[in-house]
């Protein structure tokens, strides 16, 4: 949803489906390296990440590579805050992103759908 807002402010159409589909090019600069760094960091692929850091640093510059990991690590924390407190979407976001949430598959992450999917054993 943030990427959507960023595209609007930059007057660029980014393919939001790239967020949930690895085969789609987002249109964001260096997205291959951003994706590789992010996935290795969040999925704890530390051995892979060592070589990815080297390659991404060469391709993007060391500071940009480090900053990509800075953003990823921050969101690794804040997503857990959201998940553990069950906060609803902000009102404007709720209204403006209905179609986008469906098309990207993000809607399946909503709290009620997660409960339906994961609470079955105990219900």
């Amino acid at each position: 949803m943030l990427l959507r807002a960023s595209g609007q402010s930059e007057q660029t159409d980014y393919d939001l489906n790239s967020v949930t589909d690895n085969e789609i090019d987002s249109g964001v600069d260096s997205s291959h390296w951003l994706r590789s760094l992010t996935e290795a960091a969040i999925q704890s692929q530390w051995d892979d990440l060592a070589s990815i850091r080297d390659q991404a640093g060469t391709a993007m510059g060391t500071q940009s590579m480090v900053d990509a990991l800075v953003v990823a690590s921050g969101f690794n924390g804040i997503t857990r805050v959201a998940d553990a407190t069950g906060i609803p979407l902000d009102e404007n976001t709720q209204e403006m992103t209905v179609d986008m949430r469906e098309s990207t598959g993000i809607e399946r992450f909503n709290y009620n759908e997660k409960s339906d999917r994961y609470d079955l054993v105990t219900s």
Binding site: S30, L34, A41, S44, G74, G77, S115, Y118, V121
Partner: protein
């Protein structure tokens, strides 16, 4: 912290993380410094916990019970909460929150745990992502929990009461005062928990004019990808 790296980390980020580490070791409003430090140890234990790994293989994370590979004497329900947050955040449901409440833990205690654990997740993730050993746990400061005055909160459909809006401008860089998102309000039941977490988070992101060597769209792409990997709806 981060003294053994040649990677270019910004001074204010390092200082913020050091402040968070020191703060975690101090008594909070509802937990002692020793308990808060144990929460960080427990979060780390979750990354190699056999029960957590077994649960991740199940269709439902509530399918199997058992004992976690625990390293602390925290209450079992808190240990389980921390391990679920650390190891399988995308499959957290209201059931986890209800289990903690049914064990007699207050929402205020719950929120403080969420803040401490996830502040440490940010710091530990960055260390690991840069190939650095994790920071040594801070030495707990003595003292009882400090308590706090009642917080100004409201029920807006989250599992916990959240802060009344627009009282904390500046928690997320680039945020205008009249547009405080729910994430900034989510831990408002414990104001010091909000302060702790956003001290850790603030150097990592801004909603506009991001002060990093990334375009705004690049930062948003990373943020969105993390959200998808962690199955975060918000």
């Amino acid at each position: 912290m981060y003294e053994h790296t040649d990677y270019p980390l910004r001074k204010h980020l390092v200082e913020a993380h050091e402040r968070v580490w020191e703060n975690i070791a101090e008594p909070g409003p509802f937990w002692t410094g020793a308990e808060r430090t144990s929460m960080v140890a427990e979060s780390r234990a979750a990354t190699s916990c056999h029960l957590c790994e077994a649960r991740r293989q199940e269709l439902s994370p509530y399918a199997i019970d058992g004992a976690h590979n625990s390293e602390t004497d925290l209450d079992d329900v808190i240990i389980d909460m921390i391990h679920r947050i650390r190891s399988d955040p995308g499959r957290i449901t209201r059931s986890m929150f209800d289990r903690v409440m049914n064990a007699g833990i207050s929402p205020e205690h719950y929120v403080e745990v969420v803040s401490v654990v996830n502040s440490s997740v940010i710091i530990d993730t960055l260390h690991a992502a840069l190939g650095l050993p994790l920071a040594a746990l801070p030495s707990p400061k003595p003292g009882e929990p400090t308590g706090q005055p009642p917080a100004n909160v409201t029920d807006e459909g989250a599992w916990v009461p959240i802060a009344v809006g627009n009282e904390r401008p500046g928690l997320i860089n680039g945020l205008s005062n009249n547009r405080e998102p729910n994430i900034a309000r989510s831990m408002g039941l414990v104001p010091s928990a909000v302060q702790l977490f956003f001290t850790a988070f603030r150097p990592h992101y801004a909603l506009q004019n991001i002060p990093l060597d990334l375009q705004q769209s690049q930062a948003e792409f990373i943020a969105s990808r993390v959200s998808a990997l962690n199955q975060c709806f918000y």
